[in-house]
């Protein structure tokens, strides 16, 4: 049984993620307690909201410490979703400069509207194209639609960390991964079967 | 509080039912209107239709009668024979046929008719049952589909345009007025009232390994095919005054066998004897809409003056909506095992589909269940009746 700790730091649709994990065969534990996170096989860092609020909330609850231990030191697989993915960066530029968790080198900046009718925030279903082989997208056809809702995006320092891109605002990075740390800009728990496949792949990593 | 019809005891929670300003439900009103019907006229109209469709030289059947072997289809078959028709009886095999159900089918054949039984792939059927149970809370969904598609497919394939159905459930149970008057079962009727619950056969493809080739018998013929053969489905219940109990008496006199006691969750021993899964089907009706088979039957009898409303309320309280541990003597575990579902899994699905507003819940919002897992409704009758 794969115990999945879903980090509760006061931001995000925890229930939806928990339900989706359950449907995918995992045992979700929605928690803000270090002990629970410490005993999990997998960690999901969800998140809806602003970068600075996210980091502040993590620090206030000392969650950044336990996450460092489990993820950076022990190598427990972690999946960041939406804001959760963005927090993995070195720094974010939403509402000023804020230091991130720094496990995947890069910065988080505002999406810039491209040509045509591109509006911010980016809300709705859009295609995800895997750039390189990754367990996360196993069994998912090229260009499958996932559900996005965000105004900021992740710019990777190292191109090898880019797992997938989405053709919007110049082709922003929609999934990242380094070792056993992964991040997806879309919401797998809201992307039905395709989203479930991503979650299942993560559980099986 | 749940409002009930002041004449019968149907609750307002039933889909497509309407309770008017005087507190009377549309099914009771529909039944009222029966007095105004010129049944001689209707019978005459039926004879005309039958004459029109009767085969000129006996080289093909005069009509199709969709049958299950139950009290209604046995009645329909005998009536058609009496009216000088040569029917082809067609059965869409029920999923878990009981012994008594099989005996009744044999009895129907012995009335003297040609008979076809089409069984949809039972292995696939079980998968669809489980899907239907977990996705729309209706284990009998596939059954309801094939009851309509199989006879119509055969009508097209064998070039028999006239299909004689039994009752128009809209009329009997009170549906949107416009359609209660309908004498004809069209594709649109099926989509709207055939119990499809918003799910369509095409939605099954890709689930649990189900492919289009598994769904041939679930596929309604195309409009073009229907037009080519001129398929028309009429409701016998429109032309002859319909009464389930009357049909049972009639059928019994023609060899139909009843159960030795009232069927579990029901009040009577003469219907729903063929499919062992019906117990689960009726239970889910109760969970979603607050009424089960006992309520249906009590209302039918109250309307025809056989039992008083007061007695009906008591009988329903005693029998309606009990957890279907056993049906026709068969334990639920057996039915669930065939669908690869555990009892716990089943109860979870039950809870999912239960409309909690209708039932007593504890302070944390959880359903209150008795020792046998039965729920209690928040009220079983209108306030003023309770006070008296």
């Amino acid at each position: 049984m794969t115990r999945v700790a879903i980090v509760d730091y006061g931001m995000g649709n925890l229930d939806s993620v928990a339900r989706a994990v359950e449907e995918c065969g995992g045992v979700p534990v929605v928690t803000g307690r270090a002990a629970d996170i410490g005993s999990a096989n997998r960690i999901i860092l969800p998140g809806v909201g602003a970068f600075p609020d996210g980091m502040r909330n993590l620090k206030e609850r000392s969650l950044d410490k336990i996450l460092h231990e489990q993820v950076a030191e022990k190598g427990i697989p972690l999946l960041g979703i939406c804001l959760g993915m963005q927090l993995l960066a070195t720094r974010g530029w939403e509402g000023g400069e804020t230091e991130g968790l720094g496990w995947i080198g890069g910065e988080v900046r505002r999406l810039q509207p491209g040509e045509g009718n591109t509006r911010i925030p980016h809300v709705g279903w859009n295609e995800v194209f895997a750039i390189r082989e990754s367990p996360l997208f196993r069994g998912i056809p090229e260009g499958k639609d996932f559900y996005f809702v965000h105004s900021y995006h992740f710019l990777c320092d190292d191109d090898r960390d880019v797992l997938a891109r989405t053709p919007y605002c110049g082709g922003f990075v929609s999934a990242i991964g380094r070792g056993s740390v992964f991040g997806v800009q879309f919401h797998p728990e809201k992307s039905q079967r395709a989203g479930f496949q991503v979650l299942r792949n993560f559980l099986g990593v | 509080m749940i409002r009930y019809c002041v004449r019968c005891i149907m609750p307002e929670t039933k889909p497509d039912l309407h309770i008017d300003g005087e507190g009377v439900c549309s099914a009771c009103r529909s039944f009222e209107r029966r007095k105004e019907v010129d049944w001689d006229n209707r019978r005459g109209a039926l004879k005309e239709i039958l004459d029109r469709y009767r085969s000129r030289n006996g080289s093909n059947y005069d009509c199709i009668v969709p049958v299950s072997g139950g009290k209604d289809s046995t009645y329909q078959t005998v009536r058609m024979l009496e009216l000088g028709m040569n029917p082809l009886c067609v059965t869409a095999t029920t999923d878990k046929l009981s012994d008594i159900g099989r005996r009744n089918i044999e009895n129907l054949k012995r009335r003297g008719v040609d008979y076809i039984e089409m069984t949809a792939n039972p292995v696939v059927r079980r998968r669809i049952n489980r899907l239907a149970l977990t996705q729309v809370g209706d284990i009998s969904w596939p059954e309801h589909v094939t009851i309509f598609t199989i006879p119509v497919r055969i009508a097209v394939q064998m070039n028999i345009p006239l299909i004689v159905w039994g009752e128009n459930s809209q009329n009997e149970y009170g549906g949107p007025a416009a359609d209660a008057e309908n004498s004809v079962l069209t594709r649109r009727w099926l989509e709207e009232f055939g119990g499809l619950l918003g799910l369509r056969v095409s939605d099954l493809i890709g689930q649990e390994g189900i492919e289009p080739r598994h769904l041939i018998q679930y596929t309604y013929p195309t409009d073009e095919e229907l037009r080519r053969v001129g398929v028309t489905g009429i409701f016998l219940g429109y032309y002859l005054p319909w009464d389930g109990f009357g049909n049972a008496l009639f059928s019994q006199a023609h060899g139909f066998e009843t159960y030795h006691k009232p069927v579990e969750g029901s009040l009577v021993n003469y219907e729903n004897l063929d499919n062992i899964q019906t117990g689960i089907h009726d239970y889910f009706k109760f969970l979603k809409y607050g009424f089960g088979r006992a309520t249906d039957l009590a209302c039918l009898h109250v309307r025809r003056g056989r039992i008083s409303r007061e007695d009906a309320v008591k009988l329903v309280r005693m029998h309606d909506g009990k957890f279907p541990w056993v049906y026709l003597g068969c334990p639920i575990e057996e039915v669930l095992r065939e669908m690869e579902m555990t009892l716990d899994g089943f109860v979870r699905v039950c809870d999912r589909f239960t409309n909690k507003k209708q039932f007593v819940c504890d302070s944390r919002g959880n359903l209150v269940k008795d020792r046998d897992g039965n729920l209690t409704k928040i009220n079983y009758d209108n306030e003023k009746f309770l006070r008296a």
Binding site: D15, T118, G124, W125, Y147 | G137, R200, K288
Partner: protein, 252 residues
Amino acid sequence: MLKIRVIATLLYKGWGLVKGVGFDSWRRTGSAMQAVKVYNMREMDELVFLDITATNERRRPDFALVDELADECFMPLTVGGGVTTVDDVRDLLRVGADKVAVNTTAVTDPGLVRRIADRFGSQCIVVSIDARRRSDGTYEACTNSGTVATGRDPAELAYEVEALGAGEILVTSVERDGTMSGYDVELTRRVSEAVSIPVIASGGAGSYGDMVHVISEGKASAVASASIYHFTQQTPLEAKRYLRDRGFAVRL
């Protein structure tokens, strides 16, 4: 590219789902849970769940029910009906709604739109505008489930709420709703041209052709319907294929 969304609307009244014609003659169509599960199975792009009597009954949204339904909804869920305060929004989001729809209050207390956008972000607030066509061809927005005429032009109202922070507009034709005789393309077009946020067309869909019509001429970014899937053999998947075959970007 960003896809055109095919959305299902669920109207809730009393005990379960209902369908009406012209916002009247409500007919019970069944269990809300069942509908959510079926649409989830059918991979609908989004669900809009509206409690149509909450405002007139002066009642808050039914959070327990939304909680249950959200548990089975693995696609974006918009919930509306009876939303009058920021707390209503906070509580709905907490039980699982992804977006909240505001109708009557957007007219009676437009500041609420600003407050919600500031606190939770524009992407989670949909302003729902119900409108009737006048005999002279102009339109009028109504509130309270279509029972109170406001005298306001829906396009102007849409413009106003966009400025206050609304993320999307759901525009419904009152008289066409439930008739399956086609969307009010003109109404949709006027509202779409007045704003730069997505507009969801609603009310009257009877065929896939109606959807094409309201997207191309009505400039809708999404099409919402209910009767069509419940009462006929048409399905969301077929609708999307039809749209794709005519050159629209949809999710398949």
